[in-house]
Symmetry: C2
Subunit: 344 residues, 2 copies
DNA sequence: TTGTAGGCGTTATCAC
DNA sequence: GTGATAACGCCTACAA
């Protein structure tokens, strides 16, 4: 089945010309006679010649490949991110090596090591929740690899970054709940080691502080971004007669769990308790009531990250000019937080 | 910033030993003195030596990389598939080059070409809906690349395949609707050029034929697997007073659109009209009523495909032994099709 | 316009 | 055990 692969040497021999002439012909060098160019191309086609990208890359010292490291490939946000990256990078002829850290620092280190060894031109990364030191990432930079951090970033690492404005989005979401008349707004939060959750919490707190509530102190429940966790929490708060009248969750899954618990308890949403989630997961518009949420433009972020990468790879000028782009997420108001509008 | 990368040659020179000794030391060859092995390893660490995978691959003639081609990276099924593939292949030290065909034949051809040039060891592919000829894929095989087809497959192409038993699943789903007492069951179908939709339609038809309905003829609406399309269809059928009393959709999105239209029309689901979807999209359990659907074990399929690939790559024996694995999807009965149970 | 030759960083095959 | 050397397939000065 497997015929020994045809190389430019084979073509050269059959045509009785030099191997370098073949190389030039195939690369459409301008210093080549049209006649020989055609001769070579025709034979290459006939012999089903396949340029060996490994050899070419080795010779040229770069492989036209970029690496992509995400915590989880199948999470909605990240699969959209990958989609965006592939769309832009693929169109520009780059190959994409994909790695999954499963949110473990050890695997992230390993992935970076692999990508360095593969001599990728660049790495687009969204770090794990365990990543606090940047040594392994700097290692890549020292090896001449262009780095772009996305969404979950290490702020003290001087690379291109493209992030969501989590602070503003959360601030706006909380202001929205206040405007709807909710008076005791709790925040369902994630690990504070991850910048995005810290920022979301900060935005929430700021909005409360700026409110004219009597009690401006934040009510924060950590580790409640999974549906089961927030479900349990709501049940517990209800038993303790300590329910807030609104939840702003740092994740749609947290919002979902809360909603399901409240429905179980026959507590009306949004009339009695309001809910806003985060990420605009596809399901948020399908629940009853639909869940207000925040869209993160995940595909666009992927495209943007890829575009920055491309620009950096093309013009190696201005090496010190690092881009930090912040995308403003969009608050999408659905039924779960429309207290006022229902009163009308 | 970018120091010139250290090579085994550098190590050899500093240590005043031969380059091949260094190579052996780094590869932990058994014919090497422990002392020199340690010497080399220590210096390698100190110099931050990075083996050049391109060079190694070129020399060895293989690159420990497999290619993955899917129509869309961010579709639930495929992102789970990728997740499964990465989990298994990553753990075995393989790199994954990811390509997206966007369901276009031309891009699929291009992706395969790229992967052949990259000298990948294998390709896992789910073909586009436009793919009817297999020339470009056979091309890969002729180049010694192991092929595994997944989900959307070209049946006449003799490669490993791992598919869902779409026929059985659809047959069972339709039988379930019949058992629930629905008497006029329509099928929302997709392009018949794609094997999976053809098979789903066939399973549906078979179940009808085996029923004791007076009218056993299938009612098939093609091109209704998107929510908007099925929504429009239901509206149209209602206007024509021609609604069936159940829909079995080849896609959850088709089911969703139908559900939304029926709710708009204040027609009760499942009491008046029953619905079953396909794919067990995350949202199906979150709608009200929740939508009965068919789980495809997408992650497991990815893992299985990767496992077959691994086995094939390890023991090159039994080259003619092609595996065709069929996974039995699972019918998940939720509220949208529980007519009987509601009557109780 | 074409040929010659050297090398990209490894590994494999000889020897010693 | 180690050393020398020739590849792997391609590209690119330099020379002709």
């Amino acid at each position: 089945m497997k015929q020994k692969a045809c190389t430019i040497k084979d073509i050269a021999q059959t045509l009785n010309i030099n191997i370098s002439t073949v190389s030039r012909a195939l690369n459409n060098s301008n210093s080549i006679k049209e006649e020989t160019r055609k001769l070579v191309h025709d034979l290459a086609l006939k012999l089903n010649y396949r340029p060996n990208a490994m050899a070419s890359s080795l010779r040229k010292g770069k492989g036209n490949t970029i690496g992509l490291i995400v915590p989880n490939i199948n999470r909605h946000f990240f699969s959209n991110l990958i989609y965006g990256v592939e769309t832009v990078l693929g169109a520009s002829g780059y190959n994409i090596l994909i790695c999954q850290s499963t949110d473990k620092l050890e695997k992230e280190k390993q992935a970076i090591s692999t990508l360095i060894n593969a001599r990728v031109d660049g790495i687009i990364i969204s770090i794990t929740s365990e990543t606090e030191q940047s040594g392994h990432i700097e290692n890549a930079i020292e090896n001449g690899i262009v780095l772009v951090q996305v969404d979950r970033v290490l702020h003290n690492l001087n690379t291109h970054k493209i992030v969501n404005n989590n602070f503003n989005a959360s601030y706006n979401a909380t202001k929205h709940l206040l405007a709807q008349g909710y008076k005791k707004i709790a925040h369902l939060s994630g690990p504070q080691t991850i910048n995005i959750y810290k920022e979301r919490q900060a935005g929430y707190s700021k909005a409360l502080l700026e409110s004219d509530l009597n009690d401006k102190s934040p009510i924060i429940y950590e580790n409640t971004i999974l549906a089961e966790k927030s479900y349990e929490l709501v049940m517990k708060l209800h038993a303790e007669k300590n329910l807030p009248d609104a939840f702003f969750s740092a994740s749609d899954f947290g919002a979902l769990g809360a909603l399901q618990a409240l429905q179980k308890l026959k507590i009306k949403v949004p009339e009695t308790i309001g809910i806003v989630g985060y990420a605009n997961e596809p399901f948020t518009e399908l629940t009853t009531p639909s869940i207000s949420s925040i869209d993160q433009y995940s595909i666009e972020i992927g495209k943007e990250a890829a575009q920055i990468m491309l620009n950096e790879l093309k013009n190696k000028i201005d090496k010190k000019m690092v881009k930090q782009i912040s995308i403003e997420p969009l608050l999408i108001i659905r039924d779960s937080s429309k207290k006022m509008m229902n009163d009308e």
